[in-house]
């Protein structure tokens, strides 16, 4: 974890790189106002809407856990595991305004024993994997400290 490494997103354009208050980036149909994540930018997927114009929008950076689980075994490629593999939790989080559920790993150090359905979580950025030149960042959910 050398400080000189470049911090780059593991996937381009899915989230802001604000180190304090990152947000997922979705789109919103300008006709029916439906949200999409990952971004939809060609044709609105609401079958009752003929919209073809979309605005990029940051999504709510907090939500409530719809459900959660963990990875007890190392996932196969293309996942790039830490060596040795460290089990991690995954949460499906309900965003109130957008009325959608978005998956994400749970921040390092938080296991399923620390989670419950309905718990409030916020979006953070953490390193997913790294190589000699860069740290590749991804969004994760982290319980909100109260």
């Amino acid at each position: 974890m050398s400080a000189e490494k470049k911090r780059v997103p593991a996937v381009e354009g899915w989230f802001t790189l604000d180190p304090e208050k990152p947000q997922l980036l979705g789109t919103r149909c300008t006709s029916c106002q439906s949200y999409f994540f990952p971004k939809e930018s060609l044709y609105c997927r609401n079958p009752a809407c003929a919209g073809t114009e979309f605005a990029e929008v940051p999504l709510s950076r907090t939500g409530r856990i719809w459900s959660f689980t963990n990875a007890g075994y190392q996932p196969p490629p293309p996942y790039v595991p830490a060596d040795p593999f460290v089990p991690f939790a995954i949460a499906a989080v309900e965003l109130e305004e957008e009325r959608m559920v978005v998956l994400g790993q749970v921040a390092a150090g938080t296991g399923v024993e620390d989670l419950s359905v309905g718990m409030e979580v916020e979006l953070v950025l953490e390193t997913l994997y790294e190589d000699d030149a860069s740290e590749y960042l991804v969004w994760k959910w982290k319980p909100v400290a109260h």
Partner: protein, 395 residues
Amino acid sequence: MAKDVAILGVGMHPWGKWGKNFVEYGIRACRDALADAGLEWKDVDFVSGAETIRNGYPGFVSGATFAQALGWSGARVSSAYSACASGATAMSTARAHILAGICDVALVVGADTTPKGFLAPTSGDRPDDPDWLRFRLLGATNPTYFGLYARRRMDLYGATEKDFAKVKVKNSRHGLTNPNARYRKAFSEEDVLNSPIVADPLRLLEICATSDGAAAVVLSSLEYARKRTSDPVRIAAISTVTPTYPNTVIEMPNFGTDSAHSVGLPKAPFRDSIAAAAYEEAGLGPEDLNLAEVYDLSAALELDWYENIGLCKPGEAERLLNAGETTLGGKVPVNPSGGLACFGEAVPAQAIAQVCELTWQLRGAAGERQVEGARVGLTVNQGLFGHGSSILVKK
């Protein structure tokens, strides 16, 4: 009635980890199904293959691969892929050909040879493919999604780890004497609860493995069947529905659900709509069922299916299980074959295997796992990327 087709023959290659070419398994299943039907390969007008994506080009064009292996006969051909639902799609194509009068006799076949461990996306960098990305960015395997549903069930309905273990125990007993099952061992609750966590709260013995295997059925028009048998088992409905927008339940391989912000919640969740379409097509309902084969990718998911196919109301599945109603001898036995718990998943063959089991059951030929007096059975299954699959079989 007008939409019924006859099941003249069924055949399977036993599930396992045999390490052979998938074609070998498929041919065995085809030959058994043809022999069971009392037909020869040259009697088949249409071959409908369910595809395997892990066995190269021959797997993608499985219909033709099997037609060639059985000996080119000039039969028409089709191959279908819809993940776990591929077998139902292949059967639906065959049925449509029969009902349209394009063919009299169709052979439907699916076979797979699987690698060890988790089902993973096909190799190569594909950052535009959500199935590739979910592994890359989330490390989200198939059991990840099963774990989410199981935890949700515990939170909503108070399901316990013990309930999930009981599903596995039941299925392991059902499949004990099934000659086509891969795992024939009666597990105890303790065995299950002592197995390691794969995707909390689900344990190794509660998550289906991947298997090699093959299944085939021979379908025909009722008119053709009447010349050969007086009372054939029939397919009364095949549902291959997709979700309706917005699909608000997180599903493989997605990162998120549709948004209900502008359109509100759907009338029914996707999984409820799958069997509903089959019931509607057949003019039957859950009260008519004598048995069901449901897709128990996890022990907890089997409980979800009880509710999705209308055996009980949401939240009542644990009561049904614990009352023994879904055990052999109960009101509506579920997975008398032993289900995925005893088979492991051979993706393109699985929806076809479900129909093989119902056929044996409705003929009264299921041996020690026979459901007494079975006349109506339902299969249900779901393939990732939005493939519903439900087949209603009746005598």
